[in-house]
Amino acid sequence: MITSATATPAFVAAFVLLVLLLANVLWFTRFAWWVKGSAIVLVAGLFWMSWRAMPELLGWPAQAGMPPRFNVAGIQVIEPEKNGASKGAIYLWVTGFATVHGEVIPRAFEIPFTPELQLKLAGVSTKLRKRLPQLGEVVPSKGQHSGHGPTAIALDFFDMPDPLFPER
């Protein structure tokens, strides 16, 4: 399974393979020059397109891969429209837990709107405004998700345990 940590190396490896395939076509086949030239143009075009696309993808919420336990950094709830034009969505901005050398970077997620989760998040928002850090936990459920398209998940929220509060 590809995780956030392995995604970039896996993506780069796939493109390295593409270069190796191109080298094979250029040096070990006897196609006409225009076929080989077209292959170079195709690969260059794909590299250019990917180079342009990657920054555009960053920042937008992910639809899968939420950590099993997280700190809530932000909440945005979009309610469904009554005429059915929009099914609504819930956006969460969360951080993992700090490690000794690790940098904590928040990540955004999109999950389908449910009235139950909206109710829970209303309470979480209130506590966050009162500076009570909130922990979230994904309730395990059956089934795998490919990462394409939002999937409903159950979440529970708790106040941050007291020992983790810094002393005043």
């Binding site: 070990f28 690969v43 342009r52 899968a64």
Partner: protein, 175 residues
């Protein structure tokens, strides 16, 4: 500005790699090697398909909108012991009506100025006062690029103001 989704990248990769694979099968390599190539390309398709969603959700350091609705702030102080540069992260939705209204996560380099501005905005959010941010390019340079992708990025100046109160809908407005 051209914009390509991750589906386009995946489909583009599959088409280009499939073309190269078919051409490669005409080389004089042994069949075992050709079989290996087919397996490797198939694995690469899976790698591209699954790796792109795993890259989503992380903050971008580009394209801060001109006007945005601030949703949340997360400040990470620099850590001298680990050498981590820290950062000022914020989550916002673009107020341009033509833009995607989904919230997007942004990262700015840590600086006392950004920290002060965003802490003030965060404080007002906690008091239930919605904040509208305005960003403009700044000629003055703050810090140096920490990686290759930041080369050429412009510094931005950001300020917040209280969002104007939303009045009742106009009587002339469509229901």
């Amino acid at each position: 500005m051209l914009s390509f989704g991750h589906a386009t990248i995946t489909v583009g990769y599959v088409l280009v790699s499939l073309t190269l694979l078919l051409l490669s099968l005409f080389s004089r390599w042994r069949w075992q090697l050709k079989t290996g190539l087919i397996v490797a390309v198939t694995l690469a398709w899976c790698a591209v398909y699954f790796s792109l969603p795993a890259m989503l959700g992380w903050p971008t350091d580009r394209d801060v909108p001109r006007r945005f609705n601030l949703l949340a702030v997360y400040i990470q102080e620099p850590d001298a012991s680990t050498g981590k540069p820290g950062g000022v992260f914020f989550w916002a939705s673009d107020l341009n009506p033509d833009a995607d209204q989904k919230p997007r996560a942004y990262r700015l380099p840590f600086s006392p100025g950004f920290k002060s501005v965003f802490e003030e905005g965060q404080g007002k959010l906690r008091k239930n006062i919605p904040q509208v941010g305005e960003a403009e390019d700044e000629d003055e340079v703050h810090g140096t690029p920490t990686d290759r992708l930041q080369i050429g990025l412009k510094s931005v100046k950001i300020q917040f103001q209280d969002a104007p109160p939303q009045g009742p809908p106009s009587k002339d407005a469509a229901p």
